[in-house]
C-alpha cells in the first residue's frame, strides 16, 4: 500500500517533468490554427474534427526562413571543434599537473584553481573586450577560442590521473618510454571514465549555451541553435507557438539522445563532481 502511493507520487512528479516536452512535441507538429484549441491536446489533432492532423511544415519553416537550419550546423561545428580541442588542452595540462614535475607547478595549479572562484558574470564584460581586442568578435573563432580550456575540467582530470597507480608509469619510464608516449598509451586508455564525463558535460554545456554566443555575435550567419531560437522567440514569429516549439524540439532532441545513450555516466559524473558545465 505504501509502495503504491510512492509510485503514484513518482508518476505525478515524472508527469510534471515530462509533459512539457510532450506538449512541445505535439505543438511542433500541429497546424497553426489547431494550437488555438479550447481543450489543448497532447496529440496533433484537428481543432474542429478531432482527427489526426500532423504536419512537418513548422520544421520546414524554422529550418529555412527561421534560420535554425544554419544555426544547427553552426552548433554542430562549434561543438565538433571546441569539445575535442578543450579536452586535449585540459588533459595535457592535467597530466603535467598530476605527474610531470617542473618548478612552480603546484603553486601555479593552486593559483589557477583560485580563478574558479570568480563568478562567470564578473568576467563577462572584460572577456568580450579581450575577444574584441584579439579580432575575434563576431567571428567563428570568437565562439570557440574564449572557451577552449576549463580549470574545472583540468582539476577533475588531474584528480583522476593522480588516482591511477604510479607504478605502471614508473615502470614504463624505466623502460625508456617518453612522457608523451606514456600519456597516450597508458594514461589515456585507463582514463576513459573521466574523459567521458568531461566530454559529455562539456558537449551539453556548449550545445546549450546561450549567453556567450549572445554576447559575442551580431551576425545572424554565426548564430548557434540556442541563440537562433531566442531570436525566433523575440521575432514577430514569437507568438506562433507551433514554430517556436519546432525550434525548441530541434534544440532539445540531440541532448535527450545524448542523455539516453550516456545516462549512467552523466548521472555518475554529477554525483561525483556536483557541478554542471
Amino acid at each position: 500500500m505504501r509502495k503504491a502511493s510512492m509510485y503514484a507520487a513518482l508518476v505525478l512528479l515524472a508527469a510534471v517533468s515530462v509533459v512539457p516536452f510532450l506538449w512541445m512535441l505535439a505543438t511542433s507538429f500541429k497546424h497553426g490554427q489547431d494550437i488555438y484549441s479550447k481543450v489543448p491536446s497532447l496529440l496533433p489533432l484537428d481543432r474542429k474534427t478531432g482527427e489526426w492532423a500532423a504536419t512537418l511544415g513548422n520544421y520546414d519553416y524554422v529550418l529555412g526562413v527561421g534560420g535554425l537550419g544554419g544555426a544547427f550546423v553552426n552548433s554542430v561545428w562549434v561543438c565538433a571543434v571546441l569539445v575535442p580541442a578543450k579536452l586535449l588542452i585540459d588533459a595535457l595540462a592535467a597530466y603535467a599537473f598530476a605527474r610531470i614535475p617542473f618548478p612552480g607547478r603546484d603553486r601555479l595549479f593552486v593559483i589557477m584553481l583560485g580563478g574558479m572562484m570568480v563568478p562567470a558574470i564578473t568576467l563577462l564584460v572584460p572577456r568580450i573586450h579581450v575577444t574584441q581586442s584579439l579580432g575575434m568578435f563576431d567571428t567563428g573563432w570568437g565562439l570557440i577560442v574564449p572557451n577552449i580550456a576549463s580549470v574545472l575540467d583540468i582539476f577533475l582530470m588531474r584528480q583522476f590521473f593522480l588516482s591511477l597507480p604510479a607504478e605502471l608509469e614508473e615502470a614504463a619510464l624505466i623502460d625508456g618510454a617518453g612522457r608523451m608516449r606514456i600519456f597516450w598509451t597508458i594514461v589515456l586508455p585507463l582514463s576513459k571514465p573521466v574523459l567521458a564525463v568531461v566530454t559529455i558535460t562539456s558537449f551539453l554545456f556548449h550545445w546549450n549555451d546561450l549567453v556567450w554566443p549572445l554576447l559575442v555575435t551580431n551576425d545572424p550567419e554565426l548564430y548557434t541553435l540556442p541563440l537562433a531560437l531566442q531570436q525566433l522567440v523575440a521575432s514577430p514569429d514569437g507568438g506562433r507557438a507551433y514554430y517556436i516549439m519546432a525550434g525548441a524540439t530541434l534544440a532539445v532532441l540531440p541532448v535527450i539522445a545524448v542523455l539516453l545513450v550516456f545516462q549512467r555516466r552523466i548521472l555518475a559524473g554529477i554525483a561525483f563532481t556536483g557541478l554542471k558545465g
Binding site: M24, A93, T122, P126, Q231, A251, I270
Partner: protein, 320 residues
C-alpha cells in the same frame, strides 16, 4: 640506501610524480611546462586579465565610445545611492533576492522529495530518475520558449489544467506579483542535479542506522526528521550554498522569457523580472555603461562572498 633517496625525490615531485635526475629531469621540466602552456595562456588571457581589468574598469567611466577615465568610487556610490541615475538598481536587487528566497528552497524540497521516493523503490527507479532528470539537460533557450507557451494565458497548458480543478487562469508572465513565483517554479522543475546529489547522499547513509531506528520503534516521519534529514545536512548545506550562488546570477532564462522585439529585453512587467544580472547585461551591452556594469559585477561578487560566508558561519554551525 637508494630507496629512501628515491622516496625523497618523489615527495619533492609532488603526489605521484616521479622526479628524474640529470637530463631526464631537465626534459621533464620542459615537457611539463609545454603541456601546461596552452591552458596557462588561456588562464592568463581569458580569466586573470579579465578579472583584473574588470576591477580596474569598475573605477572608470568606460563606455564603448570613449576612453576610460578614472572616476574612483563614483560608479559604486552612484549605483548604491543615486536613484535618479540608476533608478532600477535596488529594484533588481529586490527581484533577485525574492527569486533566490523562493527558488532555492523550492528546488531543494522538490529535489529531496524526488530523491527520497527514488531511494525507496526498486523497480523502475532508473526510468523515473531519467525522466526527472530530463529538464536539466535542456537548453535554457528551449526551457524559456517551452514555458512561455505553457504559461500562455489563453491557450497554455497550465491555465487549462488549473481550469480543470476550478482555479481561474492567470496571466503568469504579465502580472508583476506572479512573475517571480512563475520563474521559481521553472527552477524547481529543473531540480534534477540537486536530486542526483541528494540521491548520492541517501545512498551514503548506512542501512544499519535506519534499521536501529526501526527497532527502536521510530515511525517513517520520525526516522526522516531524526535520522535521514540530519545525516543529509552536509548535502543540504552544499546544495544551499551552490544554489544561492547560482540563483543570484540567474540570467539566460529570464532573458529568453522576457525577449521582446529583436534584441530588446524588457525585464518583465514593471521590472518584476529584472534580475540583477539582466540589469548588468543591459548596462554593459545596451547602454554601453561598461564601467558601471563592471562595478555591478564586483558588488555582486562581494555580496556572494558575504552571503556564502554567513551561510558557513550560521547554517553549518547549526548543522554540526
Amino acid at each position: 640506501m637508494a630507496a629512501p633517496a628515491l622516496a625523497d625525490e618523489r615527495v619533492a615531485a609532488g603526489p605521484g610524480g616521479r622526479a628524474r635526475r640529470g637530463p631526464g629531469r631537465r626534459r621533464d621540466h620542459l615537457v611539463g611546462a609545454l603541456l601546461v602552456a596552452p591552458a596557462l595562456v588561456y588562464f592568463l588571457v581569458f580569466l586573470l586579465y579579465p578579472a583584473l581589468s574588470a576591477l580596474y574598469y569598475s573605477f572608470t567611466d568606460w563606455n564603448l565610445r570613449s576612453d576610460a577615465n578614472w572616476v574612483g568610487l563614483a560608479n559604486y556610490a552612484d549605483l548604491l545611492f543615486d536613484d535618479v541615475k540608476y533608478p532600477h538598481f535596488w529594484t533588481s536587487v529586490r527581484v533577485t533576492l525574492q527569486y533566490t528566497l523562493i527558488a532555492v528552497p523550492l528546488t531543494l524540497v522538490a529535489a529531496l522529495a524526488q530523491a527520497l521516493l527514488l531511494n525507496a523503490i526498486r523497480r523502475g527507479a532508473n526510468l523515473f530518475r531519467l525522466l526527472l532528470f530530463l529538464p536539466v539537460v535542456t537548453a535554457e533557450a528551449a526551457v524559456g520558449a517551452i514555458w512561455r507557451w505553457l504559461y500562455d494565458p489563453q491557450y497554455g497548458l497550465i491555465n487549462t489544467l488549473l481550469g480543470l480543478v476550478g482555479i481561474p487562469g492567470q496571466n503568469w508572465l504579465n502580472t508583476p506579483e506572479l512573475v517571480i513565483p512563475a520563474l521559481a517554479f521553472i527552477a524547481a522543475w529543473q531540480c534534477g542535479i540537486s536530486m542526483i546529489i541528494y540521491l548520492a547522499g541517501l545512498k551514503g547513509i548506512p542501512g544499519t542506522i535506519q534499521e536501529a531506528a526501526v527497532i527502536d520503534g521510530a515511525g517513517p516521519w520520525q526516522r526522516f526528521w531524526r535520522v535521514t534529514f540530519p545525516m543529509l545536512r552536509p548535502t543540504t548545506f552544499y546544495l544551499l550554498v551552490t544554489g544561492v550562488i547560482a540563483a543570484l546570477q540567474v540570467f539566460g532564462l529570464v532573458y529568453v522569457i522576457f525577449s521582446g522585439n529583436g534584441r530588446s529585453v524588457t525585464g518583465g512587467p514593471e521590472q518584476s523580472g529584472l534580475t540583477y544580472v539582466l540589469h548588468l547585461y543591459l548596462f554593459a551591452f545596451r547602454y554601453d555603461a561598461m564601467g558601471a556594469a563592471c562595478a555591478m559585477s564586483f558588488i555582486l561578487l562581494v555580496f556572494i562572498v558575504i552571503v556564502t560566508a554567513l551561510q558557513f558561519r550560521f547554517v553549518r554551525q547549526e548543522a554540526s
